[in-house]
Symmetry: C2
Subunit: 219 residues, 2 copies
């Protein structure tokens, strides 16, 4: 039994969240989801390696129905991932309908089953308006739903709700996180593409311009 279950994608936000939570003295088990995204194949081995390094119990939950039944360019079954920043309307295609709702719900059931009292998610203040299931008002409503649906046994925490991705990068650097062990690129190639919305944001967060970003980018 651990204090908390962390939803761990293998990306930089949830990785820093896990290290930060352990640093505060909590015990944590990690849950990753293979929902058929183009970058799951890159992210999940990184999440597994990280947990091994940290001595954290790690489960991978496979959700093959999402790739089969859902519509999103983020999925292997979907169209091409657009290049360019999140402000462009094309990025709308990367929304996976109610994805965080699904991942949180499963993590809550797992937490209650194992006696963990908290589920941690790495949504942050810099998450973009196109993703409705990353917004603070969604987090509040879902927190209430979880409280009611578990008779108060499990609560949701969004420790980065009030800091942005660069804040997370700085926090992680201070905690000694090796960002080469995290994956961000939506395209899921052999190295980060460097030009999709997710890569552009990672570069900013990890201070690429200042030479602090250890990521290998194609462009």
């Amino acid at each position: 039994m651990t204090d908390a279950i962390a939803v761990l994608s293998g990306g930089m936000d949830s990785t820093v969240m896990l290290v930060h939570t352990l640093d505060k003295g909590k015990t944590v088990a990690a849950l990753s989801f293979d929902y058929g995204s183009k970058h799951n194949a890159r992210e999940i081995p990184m999440a597994a390696d990280l947990c091994k390094k940290l001595g954290v119990a790690h489960q991978v939950v496979c959700l093959p129905f999402m790739n089969k039944l859902f519509s999103s360019s983020l999925l292997q079954s979907g169209g091409k991932i657009p290049d360019g920043g999140y402000e462009q309307s094309t990025m709308q295609s990367t929304v996976v309908p109610f994805r965080n709702g699904i991942l949180i719900s499963i993590a809550v059931g797992y937490a209650e089953s194992t006696g963990a009292k908290e589920v941690l998610l790495g949504s942050h203040a810099g998450d973009h308006f196109i993703y409705p299931d990353c917004r603070p008002e969604f987090n509040r409503a879902f927190s209430k739903t979880v409280d009611l649906g578990t008779d108060g046994k499990v609560s949701l925490s969004f420790p980065f709700e009030h800091i942005d991705k660069r804040g997370i990068g700085d926090l992680g650097r201070g905690l000694g996180v090796d960002f080469a062990m995290t994956w961000t690129c939506y395209k899921g190639g052999s190295v980060h593409c460097g030009v999709c919305g997710a890569c552009l944001e990672r570069k900013h967060a990890l201070r690429y311009d200042q030479g602090l970003d250890v990521t290998r980018y194609k462009q």
Copy 2:
């Protein structure tokens, strides 16, 4: 594209809900979940047969991780299903943590992906206090969460929230539902056991004492 997605277990409540919704003139696609319960193997073929008979599109989503990672006597991996009524504390073991939260979330993502504006769930006024994710206050909180998490594209409906299981039975009888094509028993044997909490409730709902229940019971 259909108007609504119905979460269809193959039990009597969701079956009546589906027939009732079609009777009102809506188009509906059905979604069943194989989450590893002892009675899924009985329920799901009934759900499939019903959809075939009604000409309703039907998808079965498999969630094998629940049987592996979750704790409940309802699951194949769990202990023995207790006999007797729901008022007994032993029935607490049949709770599958946050199950409805998980099923609803997946149905919402599927609805948004297919353009359906409504997700229907057969929770009813007679659902028991031991199941927190069947209560009206849970339904309200989750409805708000779904509204926020889909930017208003999908809404939740609980058409039986204000009637009990006997009311559902009577409604279904009036609509010509063949209850022999529905499954309730938690034990998942070859016929309904007749003595578990779920069977006792089914007998009451279908007016067994009045000779109106077409179900074959072992006891």
